[in-house]
Symmetry: C2
Subunit: 312 residues, 2 copies
């Protein structure tokens, strides 16, 4: 008899959900809106109701359901306690216990970036590896550290917050976290545009990036691929920030592979080129041969990883 | 009946050994020389012989011996494979299996810096904590990362190599590891003297450090305590390198406590002051309240940690 597991990826606007077999086959995938009314009080009941409905719809036997994993946008410790998720209106409470009481099923919660890392390990760009670091280059820069198959959550759930590694002393702009000079300020989608605008302001060297008033990280990478010299300088700068930060991370956790995902990673292998050439000169020799790969699960990494959370 | 465990700290010149009860009472402590002849072929047989002798001397029953832990000066993976220890003449082999065959006892090996971290967790400055980072400021800069009570060894045993985090772009001198600008070049005992000499060369500002031709890291910290302005500038620079590097590490692993040991740490609390004030502004808020403490086991951290390795 097949065993099943639910994976829930709780975001600020939608909750993505997946039903998986224990060997990582996605059986069904659906979404519900995230209702943030009453400081997010309805979120977990809505999720529980949706899962119960799916159990009924698929006529699943409860003894064949291993449990429910859930990725949450905030710091979560190893016991499932979330330390505030401002984005949802949540304060400090135990997500495992609360959702488990509603569902009468085992529940395991993790930070969304860490959980996405687990997804990439289970079935994505990091499949087959037990020691990996994933980097999500999107609106922000997130990270997930997996050590011998387990998420490194950290003491109070703030493990893998690699977007806030300090990489630039000469920064006047304040990061969303309150510090200045965080990796996220340069390596996120908006960060790349920020680097680009600073570069453009420096002189009048011609580049396709000057042709429009506004451009995106994608425009920068397209220009890099087209051989635009200014865009290439921008990519070098991006690679230097991210490559050096990843080298520091590797000195600490010595991963076998680093998996790069998020919207920015759609630029493809060219992205890895700029990262790797700025990684190798700065890393300890024991991590010099660390592999690099692109994430493959896209927006589904969260539900895969959440499902993987509850599989021992 | 008391259960016993042996802790072995294998160094380049001596092998320190300890016999402990399983509740961390040091029963006996002794040393033998490290015989590096024949590419270190005699080292493990010598250790085995010394342990067997001690078992006889103390009339220990073999069923009351939990096992033997050993800290080794080189990268060791979670299975006990050492990836070369140049210092001993050792190539790649499984230390657990090799020593276990000689002793007919369970053996567990780990990297010496990681093992020392475990010692500080068991009975030292990090006692009572399960998530900690230890930093050893000695001839070099070593590190040990403990996650939920377990050593983070890394994929090929190069976890916790925090002395080789890149912290300075403008460095011409090559580090022992082959890179340039590693933390170890500034935060080790020789690193502090290196920072100091660079500072002294900058101008003629008076300082007690100019009174002798040669001085040590200790001289610098003594001068700091005496209020010497130049020495204080040097301490600031040291604190900036180390504080920022520890902030990066904390963004990755989110420890509850950071324990500072090694010869340099004998300077005492003043050392922590300069580290902490350069740590807080650069770390992610979730790790801002990380505690700092001085290591307390000194040279015994290795035998304590090695013993702790074999206690599940």
């Amino acid at each position: 008899m097949n065993k099943y597991v639910f994976g829930v990826d709780l975001g600020g606007t939608t909750v993505k959900m997946g039903l998986f077999t224990e060997d990582a086959i996605l059986v069904d995938k659906w979404e519900i809106p995230t209702d943030k009314a009453d400081n997010g009080a309805k979120i977990l009941p809505d999720i529980a109701a949706s899962i119960c409905e799916k159990i009924k719809e698929k006529a699943l036997e409860r003894e064949n359901i291993i449990g429910v994993g859930i990725g949450v946008p905030g710091p979560v410790d190893t016991k499932g306690v979330i330390y505030k998720a401002a984005n949802l209106g949540w304060d400090v409470f135990n997500v495992n216990d609360t959702l488990s009481e509603m569902l009468h099923l085992p529940v395991k919660a993790g930070n969304d970036a860490n959980v996405a890392a687990l997804g990439e390990m289970w079935k994505g760009g990091g499949a087959g590896y037990q020691n990996l670091v994933t980097v999500t280059l999107g609106t922000g820069v997130g990270g997930g550290i997996i050590i011998e198959g387990n998420v490194l959550a950290g003491y109070n759930g703030s493990g893998g917050e690699i977007g806030h590694i300090h990489v630039e002393d000469n920064e006047e702009k304040v990061c969303g976290c309150g510090n200045k000079g965080c990796l996220e300020q340069y390596a996120s989608a908006t960060g790349i545009v920020y680097i680009a605008k600073k570069r453009l302001a420096k002189d009048n060297k011609p580049t396709v990036l000057r042709e429009r008033e506004e451009f995106s990280a994608k425009s920068v990478w397209d220009a890099v691929k087209a051989g635009d010299e200014v865009a290439i300088e921008i990519a070098e700068q991006f690679g230097e920030y991210l490559g050096k930060a990843l080298a520091s991370i590797a000195c600490v956790v010595n991963p076998e592979i680093i998996v790069i995902g998020g919207g920015v990673s759609k630029a493809g292998d060219v992205l890895l080129d700029y990262i790797v050439k700025n990684y190798k000169p700065y890393v300890f020799r024991g991590s010099r041969e660390t592999k690099f790969a692109l994430a493959t699960l896209g927006n589904d990494a969260g539900i895969y990883g959440a499902a993987r959370l509850v599989i021992a």
